[in-house]
Symmetry: none
Subunit: 190 residues, 4 copies
């Protein structure tokens, strides 16, 4: 692909992201994506075989990116407390830098238009979290509850706070996010 083509594909993806977040998958028309991207409607079909392919591309792109941001260079040798902080902090940084993308991933979680590949990626981070929790439980620094429960709890708490920030009910700042992190650690620690 040439640089020009990449630009167009990016413009389409960016426009689609905006609109999918604003109006949802079914509420977003392909022509509206084209218009916001500054291309003709037909052009979208040079880059994506269908509207579904477009959501799936977006979904995979950002799921992969967030997973990479969390996992890359993860301090597997540090204590659980520190690991917890790192995961939360990296997600917070990502969320503050890419709020729309997180909102998109949340909103389209489990949409019937996601293909099997996207579905597989869906739980990647949750699975990573479960591994971390189990390790910490082995060291008895985290509560002896089902690891899944703790992870879903943490994930939910994080998203609850993030969503409130997105909707303006809380400041979207790292300090606020790290306040929440300290609360959350108390929830899971042994």
């Amino acid at each position: 692909m040439t640089a020009h083509e990449l630009d167009r594909a990016e413009a389409i993806l960016a426009a689609a992201l905006d609109l999918f977040v604003e109006r949802g998958f079914h509420g977003t028309s392909v022509p509206s994506v084209a218009e916001r991207a500054g291309v003709a409607a037909g052009t979208i079909y040079h880059y994506f075989s269908s509207k579904e392919a477009l959501v799936n591309a977006l979904y995979k792109q950002w799921k992969a990116q967030i997973a990479s941001q969390v996992v890359t260079g993860f301090p597997f040798d540090k204590p659980a407390r520190e690991q917890f902080r790192v995961i939360w902090e990296r997600m917070a940084e990502f969320a503050i830098a890419h709020p729309k993308e997180i909102a998109f991933l949340e909103l389209h979680h489990h949409g019937s238009y996601l293909d099997p590949e996207s579905r597989q990626i869906e739980n990647q981070l949750i699975d990573f979290g479960v591994e971390m929790v189990k390790r910490a439980q082995a060291e008895q620094v985290v509560k002896a509850l089902p690891a899944e429960l703790l992870v879903e709890f943490v994930d939910g708490a994080f998203l609850g706070v993030f969503r409130a920030a997105l909707e303006g009910r809380l400041p979207m700042t790292k300090a606020m996010m790290m306040d929440a992190e300290r609360c959350c650690w108390e929830a899971v620690r042994a």
Copy 2:
């Protein structure tokens, strides 16, 4: 209205709830609601003036019901720890009894098709939580963080756990929900 008419209105609301949860507002067609409700498409318009009126009716009905379940006979004189448990327990009972309804309220939170009345109801429970938290903070039994933050944290954690149960990754039992409750109290207590 006769009993028969109430039945039909109920059938339509129930069918719409199912489908709105499965496919979202824009992904659900009025004829598909009619089919599932066992009525003709036109009949829906005898009971609801538009598809939007239908979502809003559902939204208000269940938002009001969950608020009533939490607030009715609330033990305002008990200690904060007990109040927290009561709120969580009542929401858990509601969620276990009406999982689809909770999923519906979550999914349609902030939809552009919600009317001003629905929007007003939206934050009723959050506001109630904020009041409770502030009272508890006055007694120094809860962390001195912004009350909004704590409430959104709790709400998020609850929903994270509930959603995992809904999707089969956790058991949808009261015991599990109350395990989460204990975690959550540790997150917010002073």
Copy 3:
């Protein structure tokens, strides 16, 4: 039929007349007629077998009435000038007393929903006019042009003036209509 039934039928006809004039046949719904008549939608079908039957009933009723008003006690023995004045005057009186009815007949002239019987009545007055003109032409008091032409000319002129009055561009008064009558006689006289 009882008096009560006649009342209902009249109320339906009156409501239908209003709405057919305001919005036309296809633009008027049966429920809207029912509402304005103060009856239930189904009730209309006790009196008229269909929406088409309803327009046709109205059409025949008023076409007959206007013809009767013009023809009853017509001075067949008076001079043509006087006969012309009488026809115009009677139509003017009718039009001033029943402007909506005239507008209705005009608007629905030649509608595809008129039945054969209504169509037959359509030209009754025109035919009467043609007879009168031919008689007057035999006496050479009216121009020796095709009788049809003169009659349609007169009819058109009458309606043009009436419509302007209906729309408020001219006063709906007998004096004004009789001014027009004098003009019109000059148009047709020999």
Copy 4:
């Protein structure tokens, strides 16, 4: 626009004109217009944003055209008798060349679906006529009646004769129309 596109827009306008004249605005469905124009139903919405936009486009197009035909190169310096003849003759020529268009303008006069712009154009020709009549009245060659009355009279007479010709009750010929013109002049002359 390419020639091809213009063709399609023209085909749609022509089909719509036919059907609006035959069945009225509300009696004409968009698919029926599409079928007669030989295009798909959706295509109509590339050229006209709605069914209302379509009638309004037609209305403005032909109202403008008839006004232009009457007014362009109008002999403002000729005597009133000659001016009257010119107006009538030009309208007759237009009516004979475009009978459906005149019928359309008549039928849709004052339809509730006409937009403000169309409404403004509506009385353009009537206003022109009023000006001409007032000038002629100043010279005392035309009756000293309200100018509006004379103009509506003439307009009505013209349309009455035209409509009879359209419906086959009179020959649609210029000779016939000019016979009517002579009658009409006698109606208005002083």
